[in-house]
Symmetry: C5
Subunit: 96 residues, 5 copies
Amino acid sequence: MNLGKVVGTVVSTRKEPSLDGIRFLLVRLVGTDGKETGNFVVAADAMGAGPGEYVLTAAGSSARQTTVTQNRPVDAVIMAIVDTWEIGGKTLYVKD
Amino acid sequence: MNLGKVVGTVVSTRKEPSLDGIRFLLVRLVGTDGKETGNFVVAADAMGAGPGEYVLTAAGSSARQTTVTQNRPVDAVIMAIVDTWEIGGKTLYVKD
Amino acid sequence: MNLGKVVGTVVSTRKEPSLDGIRFLLVRLVGTDGKETGNFVVAADAMGAGPGEYVLTAAGSSARQTTVTQNRPVDAVIMAIVDTWEIGGKTLYVKD
Amino acid sequence: MNLGKVVGTVVSTRKEPSLDGIRFLLVRLVGTDGKETGNFVVAADAMGAGPGEYVLTAAGSSARQTTVTQNRPVDAVIMAIVDTWEIGGKTLYVKD
Amino acid sequence: MNLGKVVGTVVSTRKEPSLDGIRFLLVRLVGTDGKETGNFVVAADAMGAGPGEYVLTAAGSSARQTTVTQNRPVDAVIMAIVDTWEIGGKTLYVKD
């Protein structure tokens, strides 16, 4: 999975019908220090994630293994909202 | 998904028979500012997208989850045409 | 899909038995100007492509969606030979 | 597979229900010399891996081929803990 | 597929049970001139490949389409040992 931060929303009305009701979020990838790397992905939101939240995204066919995304043409999904992460016992991020 | 802009068309008559009737579009990837990044993908068109439109493309097996592309040897599909996107509440793109 | 140009052949006699009879071609990736980018892929040939031809290649599980490659351990396939492509109405390549 | 080193943990309580009980580890990718490359992946832990251990990670749909990860929205899994590796008969790493 | 050269072995005793008996090889990716590019992959060996041999590797779900790797959590497999390759009729490599 990638570690990312929700920063925005992409809206589409003309889309494959099976995508109706799925929210597309702009997620900037971050490093282990939480800083944005410059890369981003548009991910289907299976979690009700909001702006500023750190999330995990799964790509490829794994992005279709959630209730929201099953059998749908999406190749990235937010499947977890991150509470905290640590490296070597040192906490690098804690959700507010 | 990637965010991209339709810029052109690729035409092929000698192709896997299951691809008959599928349109292949040249899609340049763009950043969140809408500017082209220099990378591009050739995507099957499931949406009737036209030149200049901003689109979402799905890759891999997810590219085969549309009515048009099912069971066909395509690894990228346009599955949504973008109306607008925003970051931090600021609209960065609105379709004409 | 990637846009590429067939430049050579890879020959293997010791291979997974299901691959017997499949031709492996060296395909250099090209930009929208038709120039080689320096990257290449070895792709199964589902089309009878020849040297110098511009082709589309599909990757991943989509590479197994042709008659020639079904259920075989190949992750890239030539599934179309390109006749022409255009950007903004300007033809950038026409097959001889 | 990628060769990596477990360095930390990512904790999430709000996640796709099928992910309950799966541990997410921060894995830094390493070169054949064992040095970190700067890239990392968040991987589901199918092995009970601990910090400092060198591991193999599998990506994509292959990440769902373990008992722990089957049918779950994860695109990277630790499926082996590395004992040793060698190049040209020279051992480059031995687990303590 | 990628073109690579077998350079070493990775040994693991603690691994997903379905992986018992599968050999993991270190494969350095090479260019069309046969020179190593600096990148490498750890691939399951479906061919009995040995050090110094040039091989093709398949990635993703395609890596599970060999008898050895079916339904197993591996995302790269050696599915062919290369005898020779040529570009523009000029042979660039011949196996000893």
